[in-house]
């Protein structure tokens, strides 16, 4: 067993496993050797073909389409317009609004999907295992529920005239609140629903990391007279920081994307564009107003922007993880 990873080192090729490699090699005809070298690629073929056909080639195509004007009708001509699409998008207040909204989604998600789970994970580490497992099972439920179902259920709970949440609030003496129809609230409502789905997942990730912390470190600090808060600040948080970074990375890179279903089912980007984020804008350009060029140009902007953001976050994560050693 201990030799396991040594043997499976990728340098170990086919040939090394043969009893007498050199002689075998010499006897092998060129064609046979070629066939042998081809084998790994055959194993990869289905996966690589899928990625080329459905991701990488389309990515290149989106790039080309971003310099053209076209309305998605097969009979209509594609016109080369150079950088016009980009120029027009940058002149569009709607674009900047969507970009700003994307930012709000991300900022709003962090407390729900990172901070609250962190607090829960730290607070509940010493609960008796049986009740802890029950809680975990319960808070994980939103994660597996289909997003459309989540949207439908929250729409019902938040309904201004009959939703139980609004009825409860009215019982406390407030007016009905248009959680999804008030331009100042709708974005935060959708952010909340997106975060609601993630709380359990994030909590479990952080609890697992927290449980993996070597308890003797904590014991030692306690013997030195460290307070609970000092232990959290000086021991647990630094040791949790790689996991925290990973979560933040996921939320930042994927958060706006997850909210797509909720936006589409609950507000369709409204009221007044207040819930439209950049992903939803792409959808509206492409399949709402059938302007392929605009949609593709914003796709390229989005892809490049998030690519840079990802690179920056990965660099930051590498730094944090390094400090941990």
């Amino acid at each position: 067993m201990r030799l396991g990873h040594l043997h499976l080192d990728p340098t170990m090729t086919d040939f090394a496993a043969e009893p007498h490699p050199p002689r075998v090699l010499r006897r092998m005809t060129r064609a046979r050797r070629f066939r042998r070298q081809l084998v790994p690629y055959l194993y990869l073929l289905p996966a690589v073909a899928c990625f080329v056909i459905w991701i990488y080639e389309p990515l290149a195509q989106a790039f080309v389409l971003s310099f053209q004007q076209w309305n998605l009708l097969p009979t209509a001509p594609k016109t080369w317009v150079g950088l016009d699409n980009y120029r027009n998008i940058f002149d569009l207040p709607k674009f900047w609004q969507a970009l700003g909204n994307t930012w709000y989604y991300l900022v709003g998600l962090l407390p729900l999907a990172v901070l609250l789970p962190l607090v829960i994970a730290l607070f509940t580490q010493d609960l008796p295992p049986r009740s802890r497992n029950l809680y975990r099972a319960l808070i994980f439920v939103p994660m597996i529920v289909p997003p459309v179902v989540a949207a439908a259920v929250w729409r019902w709970l938040l309904d201004p005239s009959h939703g139980i949440l609004n009825l409860g609030l009215q019982g406390l003496g407030t007016k009905p609140i248009g959680f999804l129809s008030d331009p100042d609230l709708a974005l935060w409502t959708i952010t909340f629903i997106t975060g609601w789905k993630l709380i359990g997942f994030a909590t479990l990730i952080l609890s697992a990391a927290n449980a993996a912390i070597d308890e003797s470190l904590v014991e030692a600090a306690r013997l030195d007279g460290a307070s609970n808060w000092e232990i959290i600040r000086d021991i647990r948080l630094p040791l949790l920081s790689p996991t925290l970074m990973l979560l933040i990375l996921m939320v930042v890179l994927l958060g706006a994307q997850w909210s797509f279903s909720y936006i589409h089912v609950l507000t369709e980007g409204g009221p007044l564009g207040s819930t439209t984020n950049i992903y939803y804008l792409l959808w509206q350009f492409g399949f709402g107003s059938l302007s392929v060029g605009w949609s593709s140009a914003s796709a390229v902007i989005l892809f490049v922007g998030f690519g840079l953001l990802a690179a920056a976050l990965f660099a930051l994560k590498a730094k944090v993880t390094f400090h941990d050693d």
């Binding site: 090729t13 194993y43 289905p46 073909a49 439920v141 179902v149």
Partner: protein, 288 residues
């Protein structure tokens, strides 16, 4: 340095002594009960509403006084729900099968051989998660249209033939597969294909099962592709069906909640039975 035995033995009693006074435990319980309620109540409310008779749909009682299945009957009549549920099941099962297959093959290639371009190909696989579906949706839509597959179930399966996560997870578990076993099989004259399917795959049952759960649930919940690629209810999946009960003029809450319950029932049942495996496979996955 302390030995393992020395650190392990006293931890338990000592931890319990430190473990937090009753007050802290009380706060922990209170916090968890509150969060659990926020997480589960919406689902509970969905089921309760779906069971209320039409004249009590706006009732705020926490349980239905007279349970009725009228909403379910209505939902099944108004929209081809059964057909959509079957479609969703077919698509999810097919995607699970092909993604496992392509993942096993590609994982084996990455774990077993070092070949020209292997690092680049592995990087290209890993980087696919950086490309959001929305960025490639138009070219993909055009491709499906060219293939004449708009509004077919096949179009929902094809783009999901492979997933980066399945490949990377399986490559990783195959790398840590004990080589002695593989070598023994090679001595017996097994070729790569036989070793993969007769030795390695059966031994990775656990990983494959948890991967299957994850792929199935993720595909069942998928909304964006079906939204893009299906047109008629008969060729659509249940997530699209739900939307038909929501309209700006007035939502039929009873049938919507009944349809939502039906759409999440298979997932909730899987979770009820395989709770631990579901949680652990989601945690392994990150989020996609």
């Amino acid at each position: 340095m302390m030995t393992d035995a020395a650190t392990l033995a006293p931890v338990r009693p000592r931890r319990r002594a430190l473990a937090l006074s009753g007050w802290d435990t009380g706060v922990g319980h209170a916090l968890m009960i509150l969060v659990s309620l926020v997480c589960v109540f919406p689902i509970y409310w969905m089921i309760v509403t779906s069971l209320r008779p039409e004249n009590a749909i706006f009732s705020t009682r926490l349980w239905p006084d007279a349970a009725s299945l009228d909403n379910y009957a209505y939902a099944l009549r108004a929209v081809p729900m059964q057909r959509m549920l079957v479609n969703t099941f077919i698509v999810s099962a097919a995607v699970t099968a092909v993604q496992l297959l392509s993942g096993i093959l590609a994982g084996y290639a990455f774990a077993r051989w070092r070949f020209r371009g292997s690092a680049i190909l592995f990087g290209a696989v890993a980087l696919t998660w950086l490309v959001p579906l929305q960025v490639v949706m138009i070219p993909n839509y055009l491709l499906v249209a060219r293939l004449g597959m708009i509004d077919t179930l096949g179009a929902l399966i094809l783009p999901h033939i492979a997933s980066a996560f399945a490949i990377m997870l399986l490559a990783q578990s195959m790398r840590s597969f004990p080589t002695e076993v593989v070598e023994a099989a090679r001595m017996d004259g097994g070729n790569h294909w036989q070793i993969l399917w007769q030795v390695i795959a059966p031994n990775l049952r656990g990983t494959l099962a948890s991967l299957a759960i994850l792929i199935f649930i993720t595909t069942w919940n998928e909304y964006f592709w079906p939204l893009l690629l299906t047109r008629s209810p008969e060729n659509s999946v249940v997530q699209i069906g739900l939307q038909m009960f929501i309209s700006s003029e007035g939502t039929q809450w009873g049938p919507l909640m009944a349809a939502s319950t039906m759409a999440s029932l298979p997932i909730l049942l899987i979770y009820l039975v395989l709770q631990r495996q579901v949680i652990s496979s989601f945690m392994k996955s990150g989020l996609r």
